[in-house]
Subunit: 414 residues, 2 copies
């Protein structure tokens, strides 16, 4: 095997080609391999079709040292990954008695009858070892042939992830290249403006620099490859520091940091807390906030006040809604004040608007008011950006977090 | 062009191969094409590398009539899609004066200076027409060569989606094959048990039937291809009806229906409402509920009671928390009762547990109690399923919705 390991990922499933589900496995696998210094050159998705899967496997094996196949290991007739691998390596699958026994034990333990169709989940080929699946009936395969490796894992994300960590990682070939990699997150600056400010770096051969427009703003990824991690860092870190100095007004974090974790950092340092009263975002603000580990140190809670009666019950004056409508600046500010009071928090955040698809109070979907009320400040903004229901909710969340972070940043400078 | 149109999707971006973002564009494009009777045989993802992108494009053009490229149209050096397409069709890009003018106008309207790097966003080749981008600076390309079509669209999902609808769909070749397609959603039955119950259908040549394990349960997809939509329906519908009869105890909906929309249907029919008090799910229940259009007809609101003080303030007895801990059956039931009362709703849902990564009250991450309290019923359940913070939140939401739907279904049968 080459010392620089090149990998490809193949996701199997007609449902992925029909657009019904989004492939999160491929992103997970790509990230794990990046962290091990394995270069992923291509990801492909093919349907539940033995011919197309076999062709894709053959092509991938020509380009890559390591091919990870996700999906197609179920018990049903359209699960074809075992057949395709067997055909590519030219071996005949056989029923492995040990696998069959453990499969039977699994069904017995759950008090369920094992159907004959499950037998194929106990198949194996000569060049494969079975990878036990502690959370499902589909065992994986780890196949070694001609200096190349094929790994087959089941499609359900929690099975694939668990087996990757427990079974696959320790068996992977070791790369003698290290990738050092950092991502700088910015908000409030456009991609081309940002790129022009750091153009003296973006054309460097190493470290490689890429800019990416995201929901949260523009990200800058800086990556260097070298025989040791220390050497890779020595190439990348000085450039990262220079970029950080240039873009400092817009940077909110690095790598795994998010707008919410950046907000948490500032609030914990200031020993302050925050809370929300949400209408149009309907719990999405709170859901994203509570995705952040440790957030209970500064987040008190949130009220999803979907119905006007709930807003009024929580303390928003009824005449304010009657006079200005629920989607209005005065109501947004009142909701943010209610958030502070109700949850006994230093900062209150609020959203009120029209998620659609229908209009409300004569306002079209995408119209919203957001507000942030703190110890010394009352801030509000109109948002007017149509789209699908989920896009609208998502964008309003983004605006609230960006604005809140900016206010906290400025607050500190006073 | 063949009358049965075969398409491939290529997503461009090193960040997709590093696993930092999940490719939602490909799923969107795949779904749109399915609806037009276009067969997507493969999806590929390649990095920001002109050689690899060119190779992938050439390969795709050998297999498919239509290739959709998403991403790589930005203004920066690592945006290579225009260069790759020009190289594959053997044409020289030129600066299109009309595109340049409109680009300049866009920057002027936003009061921003246009950087020279943006010039490449005004490139065109002879065989391409430009697809205007109303929400960004990257125009798309629609390239016709040798009976084949290449469409290039910018990577940001809201730009790609808008341009697809406004610019691409009407220009696509028309298929003379129709795909009729329905998805049956079930919950509470395992995939192999389900497959064995409908095995007389899964081996049929047409309609094609696939079963898929999802977060929400197992889905059954039934699809038929025919020269007219009526013929395709005539093949699929009788089989769908037979499957529906066999699986009726587990079916909660079809196609776009979700557990939440199925719950809404039952509640609206019964003229009842519901509300939540969430702790461990931290707003995720409400966020998923409010993703459902029309839900305000039966959803009153939700309280994210993250801190114990908020639970107590809302009406959970302090001694209950002191005696049993916040993560306990009595507290879950008390929270669900509070939800009914606080929001004046017929049904109250609650969650309390440990999202992790740290333990709480000596309970490990993944431990939770959920409760549903209705007019004539008080129901609760322990959940004990470790995982990442987001997996835990997601699974608890799933359990709450499945249980609530089941209770509503049984309630009706009484």
């Amino acid at each position: 095997m080459n010392k620089t390991i090149v990998a490809e990922i193949i996701s199997v499933g007609t449902e992925l080609l029909l657009g019904e589900i989004i492939d999160t496995n491929a992103a997970f696998l790509a990230e794990r391999m990046r962290d091990r210094g394995i270069f992923v050159y291509r990801k492909s998705t093919v349907g539940d079709n033995i011919h197309r899967l076999t062709v894709a496997l053959k092509e991938a094996l020509q380009r890559a040292d390591l091919v990870i196949v996700g999906g197609g290991l179920g018990p049903t007739d359209d699960d074809m990954t075992r057949e395709a691998i067997a055909s590519v390596v030219g071996e005949e699958p056989y029923l492995d008695s040990q696998l069959l026994e453990s499969l039977r034990g699994m069904f017995a333990a759950r008090g369920r009858a094992m159907h004959e169709s499950n037998n194929k989940q106990a198949w194996l080929i000569k060049s494969a070892i079975a990878l036990p699946n502690p959370v499902g009936t589909a065992a994986g395969w780890f196949v070694s042939i001609d200096q190349k490796v094929i790994v087959a894992l089941p499609g359900p994300p929690h099975e694939l992830k668990k087996m990757w960590h427990e079974q696959v990682e320790s068996r992977l070939p070791v790369s003698d290249q290290f990738i050092y990699h950092r991502t700088i997150h910015t908000a409030g600056i456009g991609e081309s403006d940002l790129a022009s400010r750091i153009s003296q770096f973006t054309r460097l051969e190493s470290p490689g620099i890429g800019t990416y427009a995201r929901n949260s703003g523009v990200d800058i990824r800086v990556a260097a490859v070298a025989p040791t991690m220390a050497q890779a860092r020595a190439v990348a870190d000085p450039v990262i520091m220079e970029i950080a100095a240039i873009l400092s007004p817009w940077i909110f974090g690095y790598d795994d940091e998010t707008l919410v974790s950046a907000i948490m950092k500032k609030l914990v340092a200031a020993r302050q807390t925050f809370a929300c009263v949400e209408s149009v975002t309907g719990g999405s603000l709170a859901a994203e906030i509570t995705d952040c580990p440790g957030i209970s140190s500064c987040f008190a809670g949130s009220l999803t006040a979907y119905a006007n009666s709930v807003k009024i019950g929580a303390g928003v004056a009824e005449e304010l809604i009657r006079e200005h409508g629920a989607v209005s600046e005065p109501v947004a500010l009142a909701m943010a004040r209610v958030a502070r009071k109700m949850f006994n928090a230093d900062w209150g955040l609020s959203t009120t608007g029209v998620a659609g698809p229908d209009s409300l109070e004569g306002k079209v979907a995408g119209t919203a008011w957001i507000a942030v009320v703190g110890p010394n400040i009352e801030w509000s903004q109109l948002i007017d950006w149509p789209g699908s229901r989920q896009m609208i909710k998502n964008r309003i969340c983004r605006s609230v977090f960006q604005s809140f972070f900016k206010l906290l940043k400025e607050e500190k400078c006073r």
